[in-house]
């Protein structure tokens, strides 16, 4: 890995001039056959791969109205060109959403449109060549599928859909990304991204019970595979181990304990994350999600609650009903599935939790809206609930809260720079540079309001910022879980 420079943050954000090829060297490790096969993909580049890729492209387009419309409708107006955090952080023009789409659109045009078949030069159509494939591999792994560009597109063209399709095509010809595919394989085999088997998980949870008992004097349980529990909690496996994720998990447990809700984790479905979304493969998407349906039925729960994980919540909120529904076996009085923030928010509103804000008085807090929660899902019963609910929880737990600049939060939030299957050390340069727009906005509230804590509800965001914050001279523990704040503020024991 060549040395690289962390982007310098000026006083205000600047749209950089185009620097062709600035990130052409960025490529994640390629998946070996052992990581390809369990997902149903060829182990290496298949003979005749050009033809296979073009055929697969045609299939995908005919199966997705989104792709069909998005590939035809772009007018190259340029509205999206300065909206991607990777373009803003790297200046590489192929990181402009329209240019990224064009990597695939040029091939689509060549083989599937009249203009591209007969006048390729005129409309920028290209043959499927090794050079094109290499470009795809590099630049479709410089998209975190955060959908920010689509908010600004007059036709709602979503680069995430195109980047998912491109990755699916690459997998189908045997060119997969190691990071995502290895992880998906672990979920198929063991049930979570970490490859953590049931007994080890029980062990970890026992440790947590002891820690919480020691800190609070209260017996807060972390149940596993408990049949007949009311709630099945499905959370990203990072919550079991990583900092600051684990504070979030402790927070969920305390909330459910305080509310007297019986709950359980599942060793069969010990993972909320579903990286199949990132590689755009619906067979794997459905298979990974299927474990949760199986666990819910097996344990006989009445509700499914999802922990703090951005893309997992997108899959859960937007896709689960389609993939593993209908949820006619769950209690119809609750949304299925429900986000842990919805649960906590509802309990706070009903006065069911005792929260001592002063416990967080050492913190000045801001909130990073995670892309997949903001632009791939919703919470509560009104549009935009996913922005309101986490903030109301934070405000109930802390005295000092400020938001970052409005164009960098809500539905126009900037991705952390590590989403979409890019949270791997072989892409560290991309991750650091892609975080620049978020760091710019953070810097401003640090200087103006003394912010020293950025809360998030996404495991990837938390891991990414832990790694990237030090590059921008912030302490790595500045990032935390929303339920970490709840955990500090909540007063357990009989209500006073």
């Amino acid at each position: 890995m060549a040395a690289f420079e962390t982007p310098a943050l000026g006083e205000y954000p600047v749209i950089p001039l185009v620097r062709v090829g600035a990130m052409a060297h960025s490529k994640p490790f390629v998946a070996k056959a052992e990581f390809q096969k369990p997902l149903g993909f060829p182990g290496e580049l298949v003979p005749d791969w050009e033809k296979v890729a073009v055929t697969k492209l045609g299939e995908l387009v005919s199966q997705s109205r989104a792709l069909q419309v998005f590939l035809d409708s772009c007018v190259k107006c340029g509205a999206c060109t300065d909206k991607c955090h990777y373009y803003l952080g790297t200046s590489d023009p192929k990181n402009m959403p329209v240019a990224r789409q064009d990597l695939l659109r040029s091939v689509y045009r060549r083989y599937y449109t009249f203009a591209g078949k007969h006048f390729p030069k005129l409309v920028g159509a290209r043959d499927m060549t090794r050079e094109v494939l290499d470009d795809w591999y590099s630049y479709f792994h410089q998209c975190s599928q955060c959908r920010r560009c689509s908010v600004f597109c007059p036709y709602g063209i979503d680069t995430a859909e195109i980047s998912m399709a491109a990755r699916d095509i690459m997998d189908s010809v045997g060119l997969g990304q190691k990071y995502s595919n290895e992880i998906i394989g672990k979920v198929h085999k063991i049930g979570n991204n970490l490859g953590l088997p049931g007994p080890a998980l029980r062990n970890t949870l026992d440790g947590l019970e002891e820690d919480v008992k020691e800190a609070t004097g209260v017996d807060v349980r972390f149940p596993l595979d408990q049949k007949g529990a009311e709630v099945l909690l499905v959370t990203p496996s990072a919550d079991f181990f990583a900092e600051p994720h684990i504070d979030g998990l402790i927070g969920y447990a305390k909330v459910l304990h305080a509310a007297g809700i019986s709950w359980t984790l599942s060793s069969h479905a010990s993972e909320a994350a579903n990286f199949s979304l990132f590689i755009g493969n619906h067979d794997n998407l459905q298979k990974v999600a299927g474990r949760i349906r199986e666990a819910a039925l097996d344990l006989g729960v009445k509700r499914i609650v999802v922990g703090e994980c951005g893309h997992a919540w997108r899959v859960a909120y937007s896709f689960w009903n389609t993939l593993i529904g209908p949820f006619d076996f769950l209690d119809p009085r609750y949304p299925a599935p429900q986000h842990i923030c919805e649960v906590t928010h509802d309990l706070i509103r009903r006065g069911a939790l005792t929260l001592d804000k002063s416990a967080n008085d050492d913190k000045v807090v801001t909130f990073h809206d995670s892309c997949n929660v903001s632009r791939g899902s919703r919470m509560g019963d009104m549009p935009g609930g996913q922005f309101v609910i986490p903030r109301e929880i934070i405000r109930a737990c802390v005295n000092k809260f400020v938001d970052m600049a409005p164009e960098t939060i809500g539905e126009t939030t900037f991705c952390c720079g590590g989403g979409g299957g890019l949270l791997t050390d072989d892409l560290i340069e991309l991750r650091v540079k892609g975080a620049a727009p978020r760091m710019q906005a953070l810097q401003q509230v640090v200087e103006e309001h003394g912010v020293n804590y950025m809360a998030a509800i996404c495991a990837i965001c938390k891991s990414q910022f832990t790694k990237v914050l030090p590059y921008y001279q912030h302490p790595m523990d500045m990032i935390g879980s929303v339920h970490g704040l709840v955990s500090s503020a909540i007063v357990l024991g009989p209500k006073q």
């Binding site: 185009v18 199966q63 997705s64 109205r65 989104a66 419309v69 035809d72 409708s73 772009c74 007018v75 190259k76 107006c77 340029g78 509205a79 999206c80 060109t81 300065d82 909206k83 023009p93 402009m96 329209v98 240019a99 064009d102 203009a115 030069k121 005129l122 409309v123 920028g124 959908r147 689509s150 908010v151 600004f152 597109c153 007059p154 036709y155 709602g156 063209i157 979503d158 859909e161 619906h282 459905q286 349906r293 039925l297 909120y317 937007s318 009903n321 389609t322 993939l323 529904g325 006619d328 076996f329 299925a336 632009r375 791939g376 919703r378 019963d381 549009p383 935009g384 996913q386 539905e411």
Partner: protein
């Protein structure tokens, strides 16, 4: 009947067939292609009526574009509105008697020609001046602007520089519509104007101009945000079945 008249008559029949047939075909392709998953861009409406309103605001005011970039919005929006006004003004060549409201908007439609050119000039300037937009522009993007600008300019030229016999022109088009061909005035500017318009009609369904029907089919804009309330299924997602289903009862 001059050869020119025959040529243009046939050209316009062909162009109309390609425009109408092509757009209808493409719309049918969009309509028939399933959208297996829910992907509305939040904050998305939670009701059908909400979606209609969202789409209406999007296609009349270009809301997303406005949020995105005020210059592109300004040039793009005035171009489209002016184009619409100019098109409506031209209805007078196809209706007899001319509808009252078409007569009423004639002056506005005339200014629209200039506004259209101004909008196109702004959009075109961006393709040269903004390095990001320069990078993404292909020859066809420039040609499309050139085509539209030439149509507007040749139209204005007939009004201000070289008048044509519009009474005969109207007879030609009414004749085309009634399959009772009339002689077309052989003015060079008119012939250029008409040839360019026919070219635009022909490339419409073969080019990025498909954004016009496309926007209405865009799932990120036209889906209702009700994934938890209503089980969505289409295409491959409609073929999902669960092995564990029986257990649930």
């Amino acid at each position: 009947m001059s050869a020119l008249t025959v040529l243009y008559a046939l050209l316009f029949y062909a162009a109309t067939a390609i425009l109408v047939g092509g757009v209808a075909y493409q719309s049918w392709v969009y309509a028939r292609t399933p959208q297996p998953l829910k992907i509305p861009i939040p904050p998305a409406p939670t009701t059908r009526q909400g979606v209609v309103l969202r789409m209406l605001v999007e296609v009349t005011l270009f809301r997303s574009l406005f949020r995105s970039n005020k210059w592109i919005w300004l040039f793009g929006w005035i171009f489209h509105v002016a184009l619409l006004a100019a098109l409506l003004r031209h209805l007078r060549y196809f209706t007899e008697p001319v509808w009252a409201w078409v007569a009423l908007i004639q002056p506005a439609g005339l200014y629209a020609g200039f506004v259209m050119l101004a909008g196109l000039a702004g959009l075109w300037a961006r393709r040269f001046l903004v390095d990001r937009v320069r990078y993404i522009s292909s020859p066809s993007d420039h040609l499309m602007l050139a085509l539209l600008a030439a149509i507007a300019a040749s139209g204005l030229a007939m009004k201000y520089l070289a008048h044509t016999d519009i009474v005969a022109l109207k007879a030609f088009f009414l004749g085309l519509m009634a399959f009772d061909w009339q002689e077309l005035p052989a003015d060079p500017v008119l012939l250029v104007h008409l040839a360019l318009v026919a070219a635009l009609m022909i490339v419409f369904p073969l080019s990025k101009l498909l954004h016009a029907p496309g926007v209405f089919f865009s799932p990120s804009l036209n889906q209702v945000d009700d994934a938890r309330e209503r089980r969505h299924a289409a295409g491959w997602s409609a073929r999902i079945s669960h092995a564990g289903r029986a257990r649930g009862g």
